[in-house]
């Protein structure tokens, strides 16, 4: 048996996490973008007459926003809504998806209603949500929840359906009971699908919360941006847009981190 052990190749190196570092091409592309923006405003190209320059935006941001408690509370409020809705969507969506995947009767009874509701865009829920929930806050969290809920449920359901039967068979042959198979085989097998649902869900959640804030709320980053428009202050609009972009990016990073903790075997 000795010589057979010699023939082992070295194990594959752990895959590095996605690196998003800028090289010189990336840097020049970003610099070029801001330069083009600056020039477009300087030469008053069509559509750019009311737009502030990047420099003006930066100055306004540092002067009026960077040290404003109001501004940072907008961040906090939007983040709370996003993560509360997102969290509830996981708490309810993951078990529901698992049930869909494992209980034929439950699926036959509940899936039709689920599929009937799924195509309704989250924002279409805004009016009804405001009527239904006692506070605006609750209705916005609910809409955010809707944004992530269907995605996560469907992904978990698909994840259960794509479990390789051999993975379950083997566990059964080895004498594992139903509970052990569920905990040690089914759940980990579905984790990658949960991760996909989370990545998609967090993106939708930000989309939804911003629109919902513009429509229904008096706080949050969406509201801040909208107020910039209403008060004809495009500088504020752009500060708001950039803030929302950063907030989304930050959330994606948090979710990525959680996912990497959930799947140590994929690193």
């Amino acid at each position: 048996m000795k010589d057979a052990t010699v023939a082992t190749t070295s194990p594959a190196l752990p895959r590095p996490r996605r690196a998003r570092r800028l090289d010189w091409r990336g840097t020049s592309s970003v610099v070029g973008f801001f330069l083009a923006w600056q020039l477009a405003v300087n030469f008053s190209l069509p559509g750019f007459t009311d737009i502030p320059t990047p420099w003006e935006v930066l100055v306004t941001f540092v002067r009026d926003f960077l040290f404003s408690a109001n501004y940072w509370s907008s961040w906090l409020v939007s983040f709370q809504r996003v993560f509360l809705g997102f969290f509830l969507a996981q708490i309810i969506g993951i078990p529901l998806g698992l049930f869909f995947g494992t209980h034929a009767t439950f699926r036959a009874l509940v899936l039709p209603v689920f599929e009937m509701m799924r195509p309704i865009p989250p924002l279409a829920w805004v009016p009804l949500s405001i009527l239904f929930w006692p506070t605006t806050e609750a209705s916005i969290v609910f809409i955010t929840f809707i944004g992530a809920f269907f995605i996560i449920t469907i992904n978990v359901f698909e994840g259960v359906r794509s479990i390789r039967p051999e993975h379950v068979w083997l566990a059964r042959s080895l004498g594992a009971g139903t509970l052990r198979i569920f905990r040690r085989i089914m759940i980990p097998a579905v984790v990658p699908s949960i991760a996909v649902g989370m990545t998609l869900g967090i993106a939708v959640t930000w989309n939804v919360v911003i629109a919902a804030e513009m429509i229904a709320s008096d706080s949050g980053l969406g509201r801040l941006t909208w107020e910039g428009y209403v008060s004809s202050t495009p500088t504020i609009v752009i500060v708001g847009m950039i803030s929302i972009g950063l907030a989304g990016y930050l959330s994606t990073m948090i979710v990525d981190w959680i996912e990497s903790r959930m799947m140590p075997w994929k690193q």
Binding site: M1, D3, A4, V6, T8, T9, S173, L174, A176, A189
Partner: protein, 268 residues
């Protein structure tokens, strides 16, 4: 056949099937007859190789032996007891790796004993011994995705052996490995078998592999699969790859080829 069975009657893992048939029916599709009236006796302590072309129903047979599929008709027993479902006495190595990717090699190997209420320390000790024997000691904390194809195969065999199965079922286990690794794995399994005499049902589509490994080859016809020829491979053990160059090997190969082609003509 009786002679073989008599000398090894204490060793478990004798499997026999009588008049087995299996038809797959799916809505909107023609029913597919995988097996029809298949009978065989696989003696214990023997390396039984089932050989046939792809789609002849050998995988269906393997699933039945492991208890994952039920025959529509017929009787299938292991050591005289009817096979009704999966069990740790009949463990299978599948065509594609079934190591659970989210468990380390170690966790994969001890899963069986722990599932049946075994003690952690005993399972760990047994796993350490097996992994050492299979040259995987340094990889016990690796995930399967970090292993080469040959290492995965060895980890799977360790994962099965720790449960002391009566019979190992291997369904084209070395398919998809590169030629070098494949040859090494064959030598590996031959030596394991020669040391332990573990009852084995080995399924393959490759004649060379069949002849190198087998005590006895069961050649199956195209679907619906039936055994058309039983070939006793009397090449001496312990076997080395060099036995492929002997006159006796060439004779056996010719005999097997004749049976395979005869099976073909029947169907034309």
């Amino acid at each position: 056949m009786e002679a073989v069975a008599a000398t090894v009657s204490e060793t478990p893992g004798a499997i026999s099937g009588h008049n087995l048939s299996k038809t797959y029916r799916q809505k909107g599709q023609e029913p597919q007859v995988a097996l029809a009236d298949l009978s065989f006796d696989f003696p214990a302590a023997t390396l039984n190789v089932v050989m046939g072309t792809s789609g002849c129903g050998k995988s269906t047979l393997a699933k039945m032996l492991a208890g994952y599929a039920k025959p529509d008709e017929g009787n299938l027993t292991c050591d005289g007891k009817r096979i009704t479902g999966p069990g740790p006495d009949r463990l299978m190595v599948f065509q594609e790796t079934t190591l659970w990717p989210w468990m380390t090699v170690q966790e994969n190997v001890v899963f069986g004993p722990l599932s049946r209420g075994g003690s952690r320390s005993e399972a760990d000790a047994a796993a350490a011994e097996l992994l050492r024997r299979f040259g995987l000691s340094d990889f016990r904390d690796h995930f399967p995705g970090q292993l080469s194809g040959g290492m995965m195969r060895r980890a799977e065999i360790a994962q099965a052996l720790i449960n002391s199965p009566s019979v190992m079922i291997l369904d084209e286990p070395f398919r998809g490995l590169d030629v070098m690794t494949r040859e090494l794995m064959q030598e590996y399994y031959v030596r394991l078998f020669e040391e332990t005499r573990l009852s084995t049902v080995f399924i393959t589509a490759e004649l060379e592999e069949a002849l190198f490994l087998a005590d006895r080859i069961y050649i199956m016809s195209d679907a619906p699969g039936r055994i058309v020829k039983i070939l006793d491979v009397d090449l001496p053990r312990p076997r080395e790859i060099s036995c492929l160059a002997t006159r006796r090997y060439a004779e056996l190969e010719q005999e097997a080829l004749d049976a395979l082609y005869a099976g073909r003509e029947d169907l034309d």
